[in-house]
């Protein structure tokens, strides 16, 4: 049996994945690149990023400032060499996007404009109105269409990494149209599968953000780094969790409690609304607990008020927010305050990768939100992620191309056997499973609610222990799922089950990593250990898969270069 064979295989068609594919072609135009994505690339969740992409482009800014803001924002859990490389590359990548046609908003002199963002000490967030991710994704995707070397496999769902002799040689993927289980091999494989927000109930992330790439790497033996670091964004719309971008605060919006008071003055007086996300989210929850939040049908909330900015500025800088307010809340943000509450938003943790995206497994790379290259540490600053996708997507693409240009082709034998194993697994554990009684939807919802409750903005030992037990029980129940859909064509119940399988696995790494870290750092706030503890915990968590539910945790040093850890006050 033959299978499709490439030089470089990119799993994921979001900003990181597409950037990687183009970088690989640029590095060596003779390479044959495959891009596998479970949705059409322009549907990837990058599309919903609103606020902007950070790059120190302006003359008054400097690499040092961007690096320091990032490291401090990360609560010193960032690898500083990585941050320093990142801040230098980000402006180049933003300009590259401009050359590819991204409609960046401009200053009157025609240069790329910037806006202030949380935790950034100067204006360095480049934006395309408030649809930055949308424009960036469509720009790279449409640009990628000109490269005949990039072969897309749209709506193909990767279920397993092909690893032989600790060398990654491809993936097994289900072609959703035909239901075909196929092996796609390559000399280098890049994971760029995005985030895992859907393990929580209340999240800004879309349906496809199920942590697949993290689970794939985890199963292949790669460690997941800093999984306890989950970012909660202060301003999500109640009920849907749709994000109201930080740019709303960047442009001058106020956060008000039910007494009409800008309560942040009690928590972060020097930065107020422009503080980093972890601190503001905690402030909001604290206010809720003190009874100073509004009560609504969908829980407590605060007001985000932009009325004083005026219609012209709102329409110029935040048109999509007005659209969202109108469409999803039935308010006009020019006239009404926006109801918001903290919402799970971003995963700092991810597949352990180095500065070029390389993982400990030869031939396997990771980039974008699914990776942890050491940039974001304990808390990502808003707008660093889109730039991260560009910088580290490109780096991974180049590294993967370099490897693909030098190593020999992938042999057929082990692949055939691995494919057979995986096909059998999909059959017996999912499609042909008999006598199951558990609904996927039920288990998923329970997992999401347990995660919200146990691994939210504030955490405790009891809560996390309870969470690990709950997740364990859900895992047992997952063994007894029933799949009603027997069709081979576009079987979304099968993919939902595979995703749930992935999500249960990554949830456990979050719970166990959080339980072990007995301090408060960045987004990880333990009520029982409210202080940061550099002596014991200035280190990365690495979770490795074991035969039991509980991962084996190891720790790695944080690389410090120029910025000595200090108290994180704003």
């Amino acid at each position: 049996m033959d299978f499709e064979s490439y030089d470089v295989l990119v799993v994921g068609g979001g900003l990181a994945g597409i950037r990687a594919a183009i970088a690989a072609v640029d590095a060596n135009p003779r390479l044959k690149i495959a891009m596998v994505s479970k949705v059409y690339p322009m549907r990837s969740h990058t599309v919903s990023a609103e606020g902007g992409a950070a790059a120190a482009l302006r003359p008054e800014d400097s690499y040092e400032n961007h690096a320091f803001d990032t490291i401090k924002g990360a609560d010193y859990l960032a690898d500083q060499d990585v941050v320093e490389a990142f801040v230098r590359e980000a402006p180049i990548e933003v300009i590259q996007m401009e050359h590819w046609g991204c409609p960046w908003s401009r200053d009157p002199d025609g240069k790329i404009s910037a806006r202030p963002f949380g935790g950034m000490t100067t204006w360095r967030t480049c934006f395309a109105a408030d649809k930055t991710g949308f424009h960036m994704l469509h720009t790279v995707f449409q640009t990628s269409l000109k490269y005949s070397q990039i072969h897309r496999h749209d709506e193909a769902f990767a279920t397993k990494l092909l690893v032989e002799d600790s060398r990654c040689v491809g993936v097994v993927a289900i072609d959703m149209r035909s239901g075909r289980v196929q092996a796609i091999t390559a000399k280098s494989v890049i994971l760029a599968t995005g985030g895992l927000g859907r393990v929580y109930a209340f999240t800004t992330n879309g349906n496809i953000c199920t942590g697949d790439g993290m689970a794939l790497a985890y199963r292949a033996g790669v460690g997941l780094k800093d999984m306890e670091m989950v970012q909660f964004h202060p301003t999500g719309l109640p009920f849907t969790g749709i994000l109201i971008t930080e740019a709303v605060r960047g442009e001058g919006g106020y956060l008000l409690n039910k007494d009409g008071e800008r309560f942040l003055k009690r928590y972060i007086p020097n930065k107020m609304e422009l503080g980093p996300r972890d601190i503001i989210s905690r402030a909001m929850v604290t206010e809720f607990e003190a009874g100073r939040g509004f009560e609504g049908p969908h829980g407590k909330y605060m007001h985000l008020d932009v009325r004083h900015l005026g219609e012209d500025k709102i329409d110029a800088k935040l048109p999509f927010m007005r659209e969202l307010g109108r469409e999803f809340v039935g308010i006009d943000i020019v006239k009404d305050p926006i109801p918001v509450r903290p919402v799970m938003h971003y995963m700092m943790g991810g597949v352990d990768a180095d500065i070029s995206g390389a993982t400990p497994i030869a031939g396997l790379y990771a980039a974008g939100e699914c990776a942890n290259v050491g940039l974001n540490g304990g808390n990502r600053l808003g707008s660093n992620s889109l730039s991260e996708c560009l910088v580290f997507g490109a780096a991974a693409g180049r590294a993967a191309a370099e490897r693909a240009s030098s190593v020999g082709p992938v042999g057929a034998n082990p692949v055939t056997a691995l494919l057979a194993d995986e096909t059998r697994r999909i059959r017996s554990s999912f499609l042909d499973k008999k006598g199951g009684e558990e609904r996927i939807g039920t288990i998923r919802e329970e997992m999401q609610h347990d995660m919200d409750a146990g691994a939210g903005v504030f955490r405790t030992r009891e809560g996390l222990e309870k969470l690990t037990r709950q997740l364990g029980a859900l895992r047992d129940r997952f063994e007894k799922i029933k799949i009603e859909d027997s069709s081979r064509t576009f079987n979304t119940e099968l993919t939902a089950a595979l995703e749930l399988d992935f999500m249960l696995e990554v949830s456990e790494t979050i719970a166990y990593s959080a339980l072990a870290r007995e301090e408060s750092r960045g987004a990880h706030a333990r009520r029982d250990f409210p202080e940061r503890d550099d002596a014991k915990w200035l280190k990365h968590t690495l979770a490795f898969r074991t035969d039991r539910a509980e991962p084996r945790l190891e720790y790695a040093d944080v690389r410090i270069t120029n910025f000595k850890p200090q108290a994180r006050t704003y």
């Binding site: 949705v39 059409y40 599309v47 046609g101 649809k131 969908h298 069709s487 576009f490």
Partner: protein
């Protein structure tokens, strides 16, 4: 108060079993005024019938994957509120004018080819070096093409366009709007490369200006305008002496 309920009928089609699509009815609770049609489908899939297949992701009207016919009108189901239909029942069908792959899932490969055919990337006679920094572009210059750059590829316009329904070879609304997005971009010099596709016999000429594409577009793109402007520009280029200017 008794729980409100609502009847949802959806298209079911499994090419392995069915020759033609059929409608299936579900009676589900309408528990919250903020519910959208997509929430109803998700409720069905999670709690009633796991085999219902459809596409969705962002649930915030930006990924473009959840387009379906809702009571005969092309809509993004994540932005179509149930309260606007209740107590009437809701019929959800796959976007019309497209081949049906499965249940509510359409085949949009045709568009993917068309998108590529209009060369939706910046074309320059001479590559602008990265080291030279960004092109200068004013907000007025961006306003020239902005609306056409807001297309989310949701295919509602193709579902609304009878000309596309009658002749699938027609390049169609969104692809033309995107071509125009690049043609109007001050950084682009690719008009001549795109004209052959835009102005061939299956290109803009096929459009008889039904205009429904722009009516249903959820992002205010106005593809009908893009098409007619392309017709106008193309003819002036060829017919009028001063029209054939160098871009």
């Amino acid at each position: 108060m008794a729980e409100k309920r609502i009847t949802i009928r959806t298209t079911r089609f499994d090419p392995d079993k069915d020759k033609v699509p059929r409608l299936q009815s579900y009676d589900i609770p309408f528990s919250d005024d903020s519910m959208v049609v997509l929430d109803a489908l998700n409720h069905i899939k999670a709690h009633v019938d796991g085999s219902l297949s459809y596409r969705w992701s962002c649930r915030m009207g930006i990924c473009g994957s959840c387009g379906m016919m809702v009571n005969g009108v092309p809509k993004l189901t994540c932005s179509a509120f149930m309260r606007d239909y209740w107590p009437r029942s809701i019929t959800v069908e796959p976007l019309q004018n497209f081949p049906i792959v499965r249940d509510l899932v359409i085949d949009m490969e045709d568009f993917m080819h068309k998108l590529k055919s209009i060369k939706p990337w910046i074309i320059r006679k001479q590559e602008y070096p990265l080291g030279a920094g960004e092109h200068r572009q004013t907000m007025d210059q961006i306003d020239e093409f902005r609306q056409f750059s807001e297309c989310i590829n949701c295919m509602l316009c193709y579902a609304a366009c009878p000309v596309y329904g009658l002749n699938n070879e027609f390049l169609g609304p969104a692809a033309t709007a995107l071509a125009r997005r690049y043609n109007l971009d001050s950084r682009d010099q690719g008009l001549k490369d795109r004209l052959p596709v835009l102005a061939n016999s299956e290109g803009v000429w096929e459009c008889s200006f039904v205009g429904e594409c722009s009516v249903v577009c959820p992002k205010g793109v106005d593809p009908a305008k893009a098409i007619q402007q392309t017709k106008l520009d193309t003819t002036t280029r060829f017919v009028l002496p001063y029209g054939n200017r160098e871009e």
